[in-house]
């Protein structure tokens, strides 16, 4: 048996002072694509942020193992360099910093960590152009500031572009489908599918079934009340879409929170 890509054991975590994750356990195998679905407030984004190491989230107990090693002991940038990638739900703008320059810095930081030679401007540009085709990104966006004045769809494409360039081992996609029209969704999903590989695992965090029509997961986990309450195959997503989350929560004895 190989070591799983990600193993979360009985994770308890606070966002600020508020306990959000309450005993979450999850295993993601190498090459596996899993969806984590759940109602608003169930802890989906907290899970993504804890994995990436965002400040403001505190792990109170439990373990997160990345390829069998303690992920929580690493700083956010070390996690990124080791191959953990978070596609943000709301990518930030960094005015005045050229998108290409930013991507090159990021790629070279990761390459240096992996003992690879840094790419020069020409090599990088070539690589970036190739990957931009994957997400049908306009050249013009490459010349602007990082996410500066990008539409919602353009920002998400930019996230997938970065994912393609950084070649992570573990991709966490936080509500990557939110705010996308159907065409943009198809493009983004196409990019994600192209990155599926036996060496790469993905965690698709989403509220809706929609994305899963395009990126078909190997497994589906239902997150409610801060823990995984049900796991199943891809058909579970459809069931949730039809029946809502109430029945799973009821089954698991999780109170339905007022929203």
């Amino acid at each position: 048996m190989t070591v799983p890509m990600l193993e979360i054991r009985d994770l308890h975590a606070n966002a600020g002072d508020k306990p959000i994750l309450k005993g979450l356990s999850l295993v993601l195998e190498r090459g596996e694509v899993a969806a984590v679905m759940g109602p608003n407030g169930s802890g989906k984004s907290t899970l993504a942020n804890v994995i990436a190491g965002k400040p403001g989230y505190e792990v109170t107990s439990g373990e997160v193992l990345f390829e069998g090693r303690d992920l929580l002991a690493l700083s956010p940038e070390e996690r990124a360099r080791e191959g953990v990638f978070l596609a943000f739900q709301y990518p930030v703008e960094i005015p005045g910093v050229g998108n290409m320059y930013f991507l090159k810095q990021a790629v070279n930081a990761v390459r240096a960590h992996r003992g690879l030679e840094e790419l020069d401007a020409m090599e990088f540009l070539q690589l970036a152009r190739e990957k931009m085709k994957l997400v049908e990104m306009k050249e013009e966006l490459a010349r602007r500031g990082v996410n500066e004045g990008f539409s919602g769809g353009e920002k998400k494409r930019n996230e997938v572009l970065q994912m393609a360039l950084l070649e992570p081992k573990l991709c966490v996609l936080d509500e990557t489908d939110s705010g996308l029209d159907i065409d943009a969704l198809r493009v983004v999903a196409g990019g994600v599918n192209a990155l599926r590989s036996p060496e790469r695992s993905m965690l698709l965090i989403t509220h809706y079934q929609r994305l899963l029509d395009y990126v078909v997961p190997d497994r589906v986990h239902v997150l409610a009340g801060g823990r995984i309450v049900k796991s199943g195959g891809k058909e579970l997503a459809r069931e949730l879409e039809e029946k809502g989350y109430g029945w799973v929560q009821a089954q698991a004895g999780v109170p339905v929170e007022a929203r």
Binding site: P76, E77, F85, F88, I94, G96, Q105, A109
Partner: protein, 480 residues
């Protein structure tokens, strides 16, 4: 997490804090007419210049230090405790750079100044001011071919006395302000540039200032004259060693552009800023002003101010000639306990004169950063235009940013635009960069450089690279 980084990085040292052990020719501390006579005599100055200095001194004695309006705070300065002259002792005139005191050479090498002739390839001519005396001037011959005069001020007094006499004090008069008056009385050296009509200066001219002797005030005087249709780009870099006590630096820079001439003046100022508790550091009280005397002339100031305990300077343009243009591009960074009160004055007198102001203030740690700018459109300045943009970036929550734009419009045809923003480096921006593998320092550098881009692109290429590095170094210890 951010605060831990702050603590950790706050210990970052000032990289240029070394002193050079050279035999010095110094005057005892104190200022008086006798001291001024000694300085003037050491320089072998003509009588008119001595009288000019004495006149300035008499005015200065009646003036008051401008404590009341600038947003800077410091204990009273004892002007009798300052040494007004310190020169490295030299036996005779130097024939070539090889004869320069090796200690001084090493200092410059540590600073990375291209003193060597082979650096000619870099296209930079350097006039280095070591404390009070210009020690070496390179590339003189190449410049002389074009009729360009680029030499220490004290030499210009003898080489081109009529130019010095005509223009000295014509932009910044002796009694202009307290520090300018002090400078006029005791200035020891500086750079002089004259570019003849129609000549485009073939290289960037550069001066590197460095304060070395303790208790030495540095009072340089720079005068640049661009004759009709000429162009010159001038670079000024400053560094000072670490000292516990504060050192005063009160320079005066005067620029004159005749018809169709253009002067581009770039500064990267990295004087010792003091330590994290605010001990030591340079008081940088400087008067810089340019006069667009001729029609269609242009003066452009670009400054990156990262050093000094206190910076008090307002590089300004008097737009006298019709259709003349003034520009001011500034990045001022205050970290540790630094204070900066800086900005510009654009005085529109000629018709259709145009000015642009872009100011980027960055405050970190306990830094206090003030933009103070005046745009005055005088009665006769028909069709004058100004555009001002003042942005502030805060890093952490103990620093401050302040903006004081003054506007005086006496001509109804003028168009004046002002934009201002204040923003904070967000945890979200930092985390986004870190999640892509960048370290905290690299992330802050990236964000700050993005913020300053509009100004940095005004600097000559090599200088821009240096400025970027300097911003990074200055911000070490400021992430929060």
């Amino acid at each position: 997490m951010a605060n831990e980084t702050l603590e950790q990085l706050a210990k970052a040292d000032y990289e240029w804090g070394f002193t050079t052990d050279v035999e010095q020719d110094v005057l005892e501390p104190g200022i008086s007419e006798d001291v001024i006579r000694v300085i003037s005599a050491k320089k072998g100055e003509p009588e008119w210049l001595l009288q000019w200095r004495l006149e300035a001194f008499r005015r200065w004695q009646k003036m008051e230090e401008p404590h009341h309006w600038a947003k800077v705070h410091y204990p009273p300065i004892d002007y009798q405790a300052i040494r007004y002259y310190a020169a490295p002792k030299q036996k005779k005139k130097l024939e070539s750079l090889d004869e320069l005191d090796p200690e001084i050479r090493r200092t410059y090498e540590k600073l990375g100044i291209p003193l060597e002739e082979q650096k000619l390839l870099a296209g930079v001519a350097v006039d280095a001011v070591f404390d009070s005396v210009s020690v070496a001037t390179t590339f003189k011959k190449e410049l002389e071919k074009h009729g360009i005069v680029f030499c220490p001020f004290s030499e210009a007094v003898h080489r081109v006395p009529e130019l010095v006499q005509e223009y000295l004090g014509s932009v910044v008069p002796q009694g202009d302000n307290f520090f300018a008056a002090l400078n006029s009385a005791v200035f020891t050296d500086g750079s002089f540039v004259y570019v003849p009509p129609g000549v485009r200066c073939p290289m960037e001219l550069s001066t590197y200032f460095r304060i070395n002797a303790s208790e030495t005030g540095q009072f340089e005087r720079t005068l640049i004259i661009a004759d009709r249709g000429s162009y010159v780009s001038y670079l000024e870099g400053c560094t000072a060693p670490m000292r516990d006590e504060n050192q005063l630096h009160a320079a005066v820079v005067e620029l004159i552009a005749l018809d169709d001439a253009e002067i581009k003046y770039s500064t990267v100022q990295n004087w010792y800023p003091g330590d994290a508790e605010g001990r030591g550091g340079i008081y940088n009280f400087v008067t810089k002003r340019g006069k667009c005397l001729g029609r269609r002339s242009k003066i452009s100031w670009t400054q990156v101010e990262t050093g000094s305990a206190i910076t008090w300077k307002y590089p300004s343009c008097i737009l006298l000639g019709d259709d003349s243009v003034g520009e001011f591009y500034s990045v001022a960074l205050t970290a540790r306990r630094q204070q900066a009160d800086t900005g510009t004055k654009m005085i529109h007198i000629g018709k259709r004169t145009k000015s642009t102001i872009v100011s980027k203030g960055i405050s970190a740690a306990y830094g206090q950063n003030t933009y103070r700018g005046l745009v005055r459109i005088q009665k006769g300045a028909d069709g004058a235009r100004n555009y001002s943009q003042c942005d502030s970036l805060l890093i952490g929550d103990k620093c401050g940013a302040h903006t004081f734009p003054y506007l005086e419009v006496q001509n109804p045809t003028a168009q004046v635009e002002h934009e201002a923003t204040t923003s904070k480096i967000g945890e979200d921006q930092l985390f986004y960069c870190q999640q892509r593998g960048l370290s905290t320092e690299d992330a802050v550098n990236l964000i700050v450089n993005g913020f300053c881009k509009r100004v940095l692109k005004e600097l000559p290429m090599e200088f821009a690279v240096e400025a970027q590095k300097l911003l990074g170094v200055s911000l070490e210890g400021a992430v929060g």
